[in-house]
């Protein structure tokens, strides 16, 4: 069935502005007017001030789509595959910090969305997914397009609901938004059977709510905060290790203030990039599997570590036993108690909202006369500078073939570091993280936890809709981009002039790299044969395509692409097939066991 959304026939990006603040009272109807569950659902989204819903219609959710048709406050973005709907909503949420909303039908609509939901869950992205379900009387009958949605999604959502009574619908949606956005954010799914969408009841959107079983801790423990500051002041080799939690809590300003006040080195995880300005003197680069030599060495050899909104995962610290070999005191600030002492033992745990805790730390530091040990700090910085001299990110800048790192460096120059840059997963993602210097948070969108190929283009779509004035580009590879290539059509429909930077090395590059290092050069199924002509492909979707084969053409091509402000430009860079990402901490190894160029 062909569905159209006349409510937002393509109008150009400029029209996709933030909705006016919602001032309407929830009680516009006479008190006895009954609304259908479908109307209630849409009214709830309006009450939440949701500007965009990313979705795809189908049988079990048609009543809600019918109500979407009758209004224009909540705009619907029609994707070409439900996975991309979830990623689109993630893109929106990652740049704005607000809850992204997804709408899918039952059965395959929902199962297609699962990869996206799991991606959002791993990266703690606030999201509400509304899924249609077969009518309540048909549940369990193996009905057409029936799947146990709450069962299928349970391990990859923060919470989910099956609404069996229309009278509980509004409250359930209210809870879903609340749970998704508070504490450690995450996706929350509301499954609505078709008969519930059609049943009627009076509508009242609750102004507030509380859940006896859900009360995230916001304020950090004052005693622990004092203890943390004491430890930090006594440190000889201090280190700040900060992650995506700083971005999620919008605590970048506080982080910068505290780091500068102390003069200590700071590293970001892949998810935390931009939370501390990359060009700052105290920034030592990203850490982890493909982090800088100096960041990893400083992480390994520090004596006091302040971890903020980060979770010591395997791609960050490598082997925890190796990490434990060095003696250090660890302070860990996180909103999620279960993230603390999960992979490494922590000396000073502080549960709370990262921003609130950092504010308290700054305040407490201000009341003290003590200052960091300047002599020790000078020595520590000298050591770090020595590590820096390894120049771990060097590559052959004079190569006659396009080096992928060169493209990222030129991309940074041409866009003056101001892009919202989305990425897919693989080598290009790591090069972007290493070479594009993010100065601000919420400008680097990628799938860090789940590592989902195919997120880049839909992230860019969500980001561009949310921030129509910003320049949005997607860095990708010829393998990743094909996982959601159909979204070129969505980008056309909504006239989103995204720039796609395709680092085309004809291989699943990261798979190829691992096969070279760890599987005896046996490139099992990692060669991308029978590639499409990406220039023609882009053109067939109504976009502009460019192929770039020489290093000298890289910068002019990027300039031309970004000058085409109204076009989506697909830049297909033919890059060195054998380039590898360095440094690298091999799986299961320790941070100081890097392979260097």
């Amino acid at each position: 069935m062909e569905m159209t959304t006349p409510g937002i026939a393509p109008q150009g990006a400029a029209s996709h502005t933030e909705p006016a603040p919602h001032t309407e009272s929830p009680h516009t109807e006479p008190p006895h007017t009954e609304l259908s569950g479908a109307e209630i659902t849409v009214r709830c989204l309006q009450e939440e001030g949701v500007p965009f819903v990313f979705g795809y219609p189908g049988g079990a959710i048609l009543p809600i789509y019918d109500e979407m048709f009758k209004q224009d406050k909540v705009k619907h973005v029609l994707v070409r595959h439900e996975q991309a709907a979830v990623h689109g909503a993630e893109g929106y949420a990652r740049v704005t910090g607000k809850v992204g909303v997804v709408m899918v039908t039952s059965g395959p609509g929902l199962t297609n969305a699962v990869t996206g939901i799991a991606t959002a869950y791993m990266d703690s992205i606030p999201q509400v997914i509304i899924s249609g379900q077969v009518p309540t009387h048909a549940i369990g009958q193996d009905a057409f397009q029936e799947v146990d949605t709450v069962g299928v999604t349970r391990p990859c959502v923060k919470h989910n609901f099956l609404v069996k009574d229309v009278r509980e619908l509004a409250m359930t949606i209210k809870k879903a938004f609340y749970i998704a956005a508070t504490g450690r954010p995450g996706p929350v799914l509301v499954d609505i059977p078709k008969d519930v969408q059609l049943s009627r009841t009076t509508f009242h959107y609750p102004a507030s709510m509380s859940l006896r079983s859900y009360n995230p801790v916001v304020k950090g423990h004052a005693g622990q905060i004092k203890k943390a500051i004491q430890l930090l002041l006594q440190a000889k080799r201090p280190m700040f290790y900060t992650g995506g939690g700083v971005v999620l809590a919008d605590a970048s300003k506080e982080l910068v203030e505290l780091v500068r006040a102390l003069g200590y080195p700071c590293t970001n995880t892949l998810m935390g990039l931009g939370a501390y300005p990359a060009s700052d003197r105290q920034f030592v680069g990203m850490l982890g599997m493909h982090g800088t030599y100096e960041a990893n060495m400083a992480m390994q050899h520090c004596d006091v570590l302040l971890a903020v909104g980060a979770r010591f995962d395997d791609r960050v610290i490598g082997n925890p036993r190796h990490f434990d070999q060095e003696q250090r005191q660890i302070i860990h600030v996180d909103i999620d108690p279960s993230s603390i002492s999960k992979r490494v033992k922590v000396d000073v745990p502080i549960v709370g909202d990262v921003r609130e805790v950092l504010q308290e730390m700054i305040r407490h530091l201000g009341t003290l006369k003590e200052r960091p040990d300047a002599a020790a700090l000078k020595q520590w910085w000298a050591q770090i500078d020595q590590w820096k001299q390894r120049d771990c990110l060097r590559y052959d800048r004079g190569a006659s073939i396009i080096k992928p790192q060169f493209v990222v460096e030129k991309l940074y120059e041409v866009t003056r570091g101001e892009l919202i840059l989305t990425s897919d997963v693989g080598q290009h993602q790591m090069w972007a993280a290493q070479f594009y210097k993010f100065e601000k948070p919420r400008r680097w969108l990628n799938s860090g936890g789940l590592g989902t190929m195919g997120v880049g283009l839909p992230y860019a779509i969500g980001a561009k809709l949310a921030m129509p004035e910003a320049q949005v580009a997607c860095i990708t590879g010829e393998a990743s981009i094909q996982m959601n290539i159909q979204e070129l059509s969505t980008a056309k429909q909504y006239r989103l002039p995204i720039k796609i930077v395709n680092l085309n090395n004809r291989y699943m590059g990261m798979v190829r790299q691992w096969q070279e290092f760890f599987h005896g050069n046996r490139y099992s199924e990692s060669y991308m044969d029978a590639l499409p002509d990406f220039v023609k492909l882009a053109e067939s979707y109504g976009h502009v395509g460019m192929r770039i084969e020489k290093p000298a053409d890289v910068e002019p091509a990027l300039r031309e692409a970004f000058e085409r402000t109204n076009d989506l430009v697909f830049l297909d860079f033919i890059t060195d097939q054998t380039e590898n990402v360095f440094p690298m901490v091999p799986g299961g190894k320790g941070l100081s066991e890097m392979i260097l160029v």
Partner: protein
């Protein structure tokens, strides 16, 4: 080490699967799990017997607390507590065994709750080890069927798990 964890959770569809799913997803052990509504019908009380190092038990309680349906979590093993399990066991009881089986039941303070001319059904309550001891005390071949509830636990003295 063996731990007995008590929780109060919302008496809602799916709450049990969230808990059991958590244990399987994260590879935690479950020795037994029992659940039933409390005097407040909106709440269920669950007792989980699990085992693991201190680190693992700490993660288990944190992860349980993180579930939106879970209202309260207590590791009963942290303090004095009482633990009981109920077992129904159907045994062959014919001829001279019949009197012997009755005597064993009395020694273990059990009760015969159903009788045929060839069998007894015995109800026995106690700690898991006591139930094991009974099964070891009677003749293996006489056991026709057993069913056990898994452990339920409660804190000793004035300690109360309530919201």
């Amino acid at each position: 080490m063996r731990h007995i964890i008590s929780l109060l959770l919302e008496n809602e569809a799916g709450a049990l699967s969230r808990v059991s799913g958590l244990f399987s997803a994260r590879g935690y052990n479950i020795e037994s799990l029992t659940v039933a509504p409390t005097e407040d019908p909106t709440l269920s009380r669950m007792t989980i017997v699990t085992s693991g190092s201190d680190d693992v038990i700490e993660q288990i309680t944190k992860q349980l607390n993180k579930l939106v349906d879970v209202v309260k979590v207590v590791d009963l093993s942290d303090g004095e507590h009482i633990e009981r399990e109920m077992m129904l066991v159907k045994v062959r009881a014919a001829g001279k065994d019949r009197e012997e089986m009755k005597r064993m039941t009395e020694i273990f303070r059990g009760r015969v709750i159903d009788v045929t001319d060839k069998s007894y059904t015995i109800e026995l309550t106690g700690t898991g080890t006591k139930l094991d001891a009974f099964l070891n005390a009677i003749e293996r071949g006489a056991i026709l069927e057993t069913v056990r509830t898994g452990a339920s636990g409660i804190g000793r003295g004035d300690r109360v798990l309530k919201i």
